[in-house]
Symmetry: C2
């Protein structure tokens, strides 16, 4: 059963939240930055606020806690669409981009993708710049809640696995008690890490404005900057190393952060199979890439090469998408490696995108199992993750997810090429959007404005698809979802 | 237990066969074509013949029928390597290419890939041209036997499915009785279809020489031609349509051909889920591609566009790799579509490469099942193929195979780029070799000679990997294979 009015009522909550955010930024513009863009925020905020309250209180006979799984899935997809459109209003008003481009920019922020239509950021009103970065921070939190609280119940791409990972009461299958319970501690962890990040940036030499703004987009692995040169603007290896740390923290399961906090024991990070593998992959890919780059350009010296390489590997694998140098000028093979590293992704239950480390682990173990079974056809084997046996169901979900990611990549690349983009631009943009990573290559190396309107909508769709782990969105296109 | 001397004795059989083939071509050169290349064939044939007989009769205490599954897997990989090297000797002698390039050309022939190092084919000795085409025909037959008789026993990539498909006694799990039984009828079907193909080509206007040679490489979906312009040389739509028919026949399960022959009923092709889906995919992709091409160039007219498009779609999906026009000059999006169409592949149990239609069907159904389960978490669902329920084991194998194909593609593309090739050349060459398809793009658009030696060996390895369905070869690199 899907109750449209209940869904409208549910949607009123994120909309209400968006209106509060926009109202706050209107106030900030008026009282603090004095950059005269307050009307771009306050007018839409007032309208959204009124409508949201009307929906919330007008349909009281649909109690929010009665939401079922199908309604939750529809709600998740619609939230990103509706909030994307609402978030776009100030963007369109201030930068004068088209509706299509504005919605793209807004969805790119909220999904923490960080692909942009804009250039000339350095000269834009500070309120606008911080608003754009704050949207990523909000989107990051939203995703963490979605992934930790809702996905395990749906078992999308095998994420029922995470159920035993999350603290708090987990036997309950109803959505709302779990969500409010989970939301509580996630909020806290997210806020604390962001605060630490901002303070570190500030003491490393950023202005307070940049420190706060970039802490929003580092911990959310969003990647929006206030400068066209991104992190390269600061010309500070220290800032890059701080950024490395907090991008990695943003890409680790937030439930694990909470466990570390409760137990006061950093060793738990290393005891966690996913986090440990994540760090190993980063080290391995950095090694390969640093060797490749050092071989081509020995002038910079080993230390600078390693700093640069590590930063970009972390930026891509955590799906942040910050740049510290013009990596578009690196040899083609490094671009391709970085693009595909984006598919690995961060840990589940984090703000990072990509296929997630946990799925990579299970896929590799699953393929390894097939190889063992070839050699010993009568042997009885099973896969373990973090000491627990993985069920057939989880294997099916994970492998289905991995295949789907590959198929959707090919499909979207071809569709984007049909809009006139080159192969490299199409593949890199598709990968950047599906993995909520951000940077494109070739024609889209500077920003995404060369995309046609069709191409832009396609990529907006790809961002939501990737952010909600494919299945949540795709299921809406199947008749089985709508049948009673 | 792996007995090296038994494997040597087993290897003596294909080597003996190769020596007979080379001896025959030596005779052909001397008695018929009089192109004075007989020594390039007869000398290696004599050496191989002597050595093979020595091994075959020298180690009689290792009876061939005692071969076990692990030995069979090692034998399969080594066969392609050893016979590849033996087959290269006349190629190196006649064309003066390097050892590396000669082995590549020979493996390309035997795996029915059809990627070539050579140009100026039209001026080469006819004996050599026909030898090269005959190697594909032999390779095609070898693969059909391997895939129909051996793979189902190993359940590589879910191929245990095919067991119920093959006629004859199938309860027996020992290799040899099954192989000899299966080989018998496969030989016959293969020979009859090739004969029909040659006769059709001849009456459509090819010379007897070209008709026979091209029937070898059409039915084996190999794609080697005697002309640089490939099928475009003949400038005959009739020949293209004949070629379409026989490429498709070569890409359909040979066990199904046999059933059709026994039952005298063509309708069985349509009743077979894999063959039916195969034809539907061809129609669908042709429609898309024809619309794309017609939109760009309306001058040629609809009929010629459809003829050209259908031919190239069939050529790529069946992994034949013939060309009828300079498709490198088509828009980039069509190249990309054709490259990825190669991954779909033909039917299992045929000479075609790629992931095979059956695995595509099961993957899609598997993903569809995950979607159903999201909507009805407590429902009990299963996948059916050809009316039979697919077990979890088969699903695991198939999905593992699909993921592996994607991962290996990325890995080999990156490795090839490290040898200095462009992204497009690397990706297209990797796809062409893994899917035993043939044609490359960009720098490798004319032939594969721009590859470095490292790159050439990498691609030779890729062809064997793809031809033996990944797992058969990869398993050799895992300690578990060698442990007692
Ligand atoms: K990002
Ligand atoms: K081929």
């Amino acid at each position: 059963m899907i109750r449209p009015l209940l869904i409208l009522r549910l949607l009123a909550m994120p909309c209400l939240w968006m209106s509060v955010v926009q109202f706050t930024f209107g106030e900030l513009s008026f009282m603090w930055f004095k950059d005269e863009v307050q009307h771009a925020f306050i007018t839409p905020a007032a309208i959204t606020f009124t409508l949201s309250l009307a929906f919330l209180f007008g349909f009281k006979k649909y109690p929010l806690p009665s939401v079922n799984i199908r309604e939750a899935m529809l709600f998740a997809s619609l939230t990103w669409l509706i909030v994307g459109i609402l978030g776009a209003v100030p963007i369109i008003t201030i930068t004068q981009v088209s509706f299509t481009d504005g919605v793209f920019e807004s969805i790119s922020a909220l999904t923490t993708t960080g692909a942009t239509m804009l250039s000339g950021l350095d000269d834009m009103p500070p309120t606008f710049l911080m608003y754009r970065q704050f949207l990523q921070w909000m989107g990051g939190l939203g995703v963490v809640i979605f992934v930790v609280a809702i996905l395990p119940m749906l078992n999308i791409g095998g994420m029922r696995l995470l159920k035993a990972e999350t603290p708090g009461p987990i036997k309950d299958d109803k959505l709302s008690p779990r969500i409010s319970n989970t939301t509580h501690y996630l909020w806290m962890v997210y806020l604390v890490i962001t605060g630490l990040c901002a303070v570190s940036y500030y003491f490393a030499g950023m202005s307070a404005f940049d420190a706060i703004g970039h802490s929003f987009t580092t911990v959310s692995t969003g990647g929006f900057s206030t400068h066209d040169a991104s992190m390269g603007y600061f010309k500070s290896p220290l800032i890059l190393w701080i950024c490395n740390l907090f991008m990695v923290l943003g890409a680790v399961n937030f439930a694990l952060h909470y466990r570390v906090y409760i137990a006061r024991s950093m060793i738990l990070y290393w005891k966690d199979e996913e986090a440990r593998t994540f760090l190993k992959i980063i080290a391995f890919v950095t090694l390969i890439l640093a060797l490749l780059l050092f071989q081509i350009d020995t002038e910079k010296g080993l230390w600078i090469t390693i700093t640069q390489t590590l930063f970009h590997v972390i930026s891509f694998i955590t799906s942040t998408g910050y740049a510290a140098t013009d990596f578009g000028a690196w040899p083609a093979v490094t671009s391709i490696i970085l693009i595909f590293v984006g598919y690995i992704g961060g840990c589940a239950g984090s703000t990072a995108g990509g296929n997630k480390v946990i799925r990579n682990i299970i896929s590799f173990k699953s393929i390894g199992l097939e190889i063992k079974r070839l050699v010993r056809p009568n042997g009885v084997f099973s896969i373990k993750f973090q000491g627990r046996t993985i069920s057939d169901d989880v294997r099916h979900s994970v492998m289905g997810f991995m295949c789907l990611a590959a198929m959707v990549t090919v499909l979207f690349t071809v569709l984007l090429m049909m809009t006139g983009m080159s192969f490299m631009a199409s593949l890199s943009a598709t990968a950047a959007c599906l993995n909520v990573l951000g940077p494109g290559f070739a024609e889209l190396g500077n920003n995404f404005s060369p995309l046609s309107d069709t191409g832009t909508w396609l990529m907006s769709f790809a961002m939501v698809l990737g952010r909600l782990e494919y299945f949540t969105v795709l299921v809406l296109f199947f008749p089985v979802f709508w049948r009673h």
